[in-house]
Symmetry: C2
Subunit: 196 residues, 2 copies
């Protein structure tokens, strides 16, 4: 009943994560009501992103060039590879400013159900990369069962290579109150206690 | 730290209703991961919508032509004007299939706080339109205080014109259980009771 261009836009918006038909309609109207400030710039930004973005063949980051800006940065330690599940995790690590090495983005965790094996996570590439140039591999997969299983699998694979495998610490998050934490976190924190 | 094209896209997505920085980042990544199925079609649909869509000068509907497809439909009763707050409400009314007249989209309710007076809601245009060609004006603003105040204001204005003013019924929604309804709805339903 609305113009076909609107119906088409709403159908596409419904495919976005977390948007049902109702919120897609509301979003379409919001965009159309703010054409100059929102709809036109967003259309241009999406077109531009689709045109220039590519996946880095070395680490799996998303960037405008391949290899990406992280892999080609001469100031970064190429002997250090941090393994993350997702590009969002790479961004989070970069925001923290705590790390100045390179990355390997798995694109998920090992999962027979989702059909994600070592090949899909580009683990063979990671292993040959680690053998060739890495001094240390830092495991920074999520502290979930799937994340830790994947980390364990990678550790086993790298056991024969001349490379140190480390893992980021699990424990009480900074600013966290003990009372609000789950048992698993407290157990990990207690187990990893160290001398002060 | 991500490519400037991504940062720009995320900034724009943050301006969408209900999206914080975190969900905007996740949405941007989701779009970039599904480029062929989602990002490119969405960019094209937004560009197309921005190019063709316009507001109907008669009723305020959003369409590809002005006057819109509803106002120019010869099968519709031009003597019947239904007053709704928003284009989304017009769509809802059209989906129900219960109405075959024309519309007037206010674009909100009267509100001194939001700087919305009769001019902003195009009420003077509505009054002259009602005087010229309408037989009946149907009030279909929301059953809220703001919606009903606006409806009351329009009723007063049209009192001197040769036009019947009606209002859609308020009561128990079809499929609604009494136990779950608020007092206001039950009161309205009881007050509007009719002989069977």
């Amino acid at each position: 009943m609305a113009a076909p261009e609107i119906e088409h836009l709403i159908r596409l918006l419904t495919r976005l994560p977390g948007l049902g038909p109702r919120s897609a309609r509301r979003l379409a109207l919001h965009l159309m009501r703010h054409r100059a400030q929102l709809l036109d710039p967003l259309a241009a930004a999406l077109t531009e992103a689709g045109r220039v973005l590519t996946e880095c063949g070395t680490c799996g980051n998303i960037d405008t060039r391949n290899p990406c800006v992280v892999c080609t940065d001469p100031e970064r330690d190429a002997g250090l590879i941090c393994i993350v599940e997702d590009v969002a995790d790479l961004w989070a690590m970069e925001r923290s400013g705590a790390y100045r090495g390179c990355y390997h983005v798995l694109g998920g965790t090992l999962s027979a159900l989702d059909g994600k094996g070592p090949e899909e996570l580009k683990i063979p590439i990671l292993v040959s990369r680690a053998r060739e140039s890495a001094r240390e591999v830092v495991l920074a997969t999520s502290a979930t069962v799937a994340g830790q299983t994947t980390a364990h699998y990678i550790t086993e694979l790298l056991a024969k290579a001349q490379v140190t495998v480390t893992q980021i610490a699990h424990g009480v998050p900074v600013g966290g109150e003990l009372d609000y934490l789950d048992d698993g976190t407290l157990m990990a924190a207690m187990k990893a206690r160290h001398k002060v």
